[in-house]
Symmetry: C2
Subunit: 415 residues, 2 copies
């Protein structure tokens, strides 16, 4: 599938320059797996001592690379990451397992590491055998060519229907020592919590033990990628991995061994912030979108209930099409609250479109002006807030509208 | 909103002639509630002795008429049903309750009955106050003009974005005495189980006590309207009511007092069959559809699990857009099975598109021919079958594809 679609109106103006991270190097190339004239294979080579953490799809039909990563994560160590786009190697049976084994074998040889230090991810069409024999031999050359500053090329190589690469950086301090966190991700459709057709890779030079890294990554997923939805469709390949090279130890950072260590507080906050920005970039690249929408839920019985209600609104085709039509049809928000299955009292609900109160006390707000709210709907970035008036539960969900563009992208993805 | 959309390609060639049912008369008129130049208000006047049953939306933000019906159903009796289209009187607060009370008052006077023998339903936009004062005075004239054969006009008066009226008839015998069952319904979007923006009214001349009628209606909902989805959006107004005038008793039908009475078996089967046909007609009128799709699930752990998996497939935007694009993208069916949250084993799954086995044993079927299955996808009516290979649970779900037409209909519904 060619990248015919125009770039999302919410794409950053330019892909950011990010600092290098000591202990990791990247390379990407055109392996011709499916796409033509673009890079579709990437490698990240990490120094010895790198720790690893991961959050993987909950799908019961997950891909072969997801199963591979689940095994490798048991070691808590990483030396090499290989990612291809164009084919997800999902539902490919024994051929899929063979493709993973072959790719891993070449990756191990390329960097000289153990089997459980190899991480693999694939994204693209489901059910087509991935012919690893056609590209695995490239990994040796890629590993040799890997450079610490090849972030942009690498972020581009994992794209499928994405219209822009998604690369974000943060700095944090651990015990007074500055460390860097860079992350990149892909995803534009088949996007829903737990998780999304979403690949995300985060690197840091901080020295953090694998269990502590795992703990902060899992917590971050809950307030970032699991709060973002394009179409409610969860992928077989969702993979978020985080790698810590530990090189900051040489600059005096005392290695962190426990997630509860107060020294990790700033790092955790910055890493979670980076994850939120990456998640928002995915929603901002939703297939065919014309609006980026933030759904804020307050007053629910619990945070979990708030998230369920927020996702019910964010995934409702009727809410999403109303937004596409710039129609302040808040009745559909009422509908989506009502169908979520969580506690809601019609007569305690309040709904705002941006700063405009549109409904409260079980009916349209007396101050409601169709003209004013319709004018608000012309904005590219919209916020819909719902207060359930029941408790202290809250959540924030990011999504986009449902347009003719989504249909066009998805009705002929394989052709 | 004008009925610009062409009639669904799956509409019956003509609205069927249905027999009259002794004890019930209908009338409809143009009340100008929202639509112009079409009937939007209907009445059904029933003789004394009519029993009533109902299944209503589970929405936490249900409409004022739904609350009214819930109360009336406690009596088990009915004398009058009033339905309007163009405004759902949902999320209209005290004004909504007042509108319901005013409509009911005029209906009671028109037919001379008690408050709890009145049933009301409204369908259309949410959140706009329904000005009952503008049409309630018409009910007296409508009741006087009501005729036993005005089925087609009545079925048309409850339509919103429907492109054709949905009217179905069956005959059954109870203890050897023939009885008639007629039903009509509306619904085309905001359609999902439990239930749908769906109004359905079923009438029979059989003599059946209200508790038995309720029991067979609730059971029928599970295998008809709760197995049908257009967009996964559940409405605030879903209402299915069934009325039994009891007039067949005069022709020798022994009144049925228990749902377990063997004499009710044929009637139950025919009534459920009628409900299934009505539910399929709704899916066949899904907003903007180009394909009518039957999803058959077998081999699940339970019937409930099978239904959840079937709905996960039927509601997946990616499956629905692939079908719209006539793309045999069975990988998206794998994805939808995987995300359903029910037990599934990738390596035991088998998937058929029509008669064509496309996947089994965790990978593409060896016999799979893209050309053959792509040709199958050109059909208007499609069947996707999934066997999970785990147990005996099964279900059948009816749905439609997701097209540019759905976006067009819903992005400017209110304008």
């Amino acid at each position: 599938m060619a990248h015919d679609a125009a770039v999302s109106p919410f794409a950053p103006k330019a892909i950011p320059e990010v600092p290098v991270i000591d202990g990791v190097r990247f390379a990407a190339c055109e392996a011709g797996i499916k796409y033509r004239n673009r890079k579709d294979l990437m490698i990240a080579v990490m120094d010895e001592g790198t720790t690893a953490a991961g959050v993987l799809t909950q799908s019961k039909t997950c891909s072969a690379p997801v199963l591979w990563c689940r095994d490798s994560l048991k070691s808590g160590k990483a030396r090499v990451l290989v990612v291809n786009s164009g084919n997800s190697n999902a539902f490919t049976g024994k051929k899929g397992r063979d493709a993973v084994a072959l790719t891993a074998e070449f990756a191990m040889k390329a960097v000289g590491c153990a089997k459980d230090e190899v991480y693999l991810a694939s994204t693209g069409v489901i059910g087509e055998p991935l012919e690893a024999g056609k590209f695995a031999h490239l990994l040796d050359g890629l590993a040799k060519a890997a450079k610490p500053d090849a972030w942009a090329d690498t972020a581009r190589a994992i794209m499928t229907t994405d219209t822009f690469p998604k690369l974000v950086t943060r700095t944090a301090t651990i015990g007074g020592v500055p460390v860097t966190i860079n992350g990149f991700c892909k995803g534009a459709g088949m996007i829903a919590p737990d998780m999304a057709t979403m690949l995300c890779f985060i690197f840091t030079d901080a020295a953090i033990a694998a269990p502590a890294l795992q703990s902060l990554l899992a917590a971050g997923a809950q307030t970032s990628f699991n709060c973002m939805t394009v179409d409610g469709d969860t992928s077989t390949s969702d993979t978020m991995l985080m790698f810590a090279t530990g090189k900051a130890a040489a600059r005096g950072q005392k290695p962190v061994t426990s997630a509860g260590d107060p020294a990790l507080a700033d790092f955790t906050a910055k890493a979670h912030d980076l994850m939120r920005e990456l998640a928002q970039l995915v929603a901002k690249d939703g297939e065919g979108l014309s609006k980026f929408v933030t759904i804020e839920i307050a007053g629910a019985e619990s945070d979990k209930a708030a998230r369920t209600i927020g996702l019910s609104i964010a995934n409702s085709p009727l809410v999403k099409t109303a937004i596409a039509g710039e129609d302040p049809n808040w009745g559909r928000v009422v509908m989506a609250v009502g169908k979520a299955g969580e506690a809601a009292d019609r007569d305690k609900l309040a709904i705002w479109f941006g700063p405009h109160l549109v409904a409260k006390d079980g009916e349209r707000a007396p101050s409601y002006s169709e003209e004013t709210v319709a004018a608000y709907m012309k904005n590219g970035e919209l916020t819909i807030k719902v207060d359930l008036g029941l408790g202290a539960g809250k959540s924030t969900i990011w999504t986009c509208d449902l347009t003719h563009g989504y249909i066009s992208v998805n009705a002929d993805y394989r052709s």
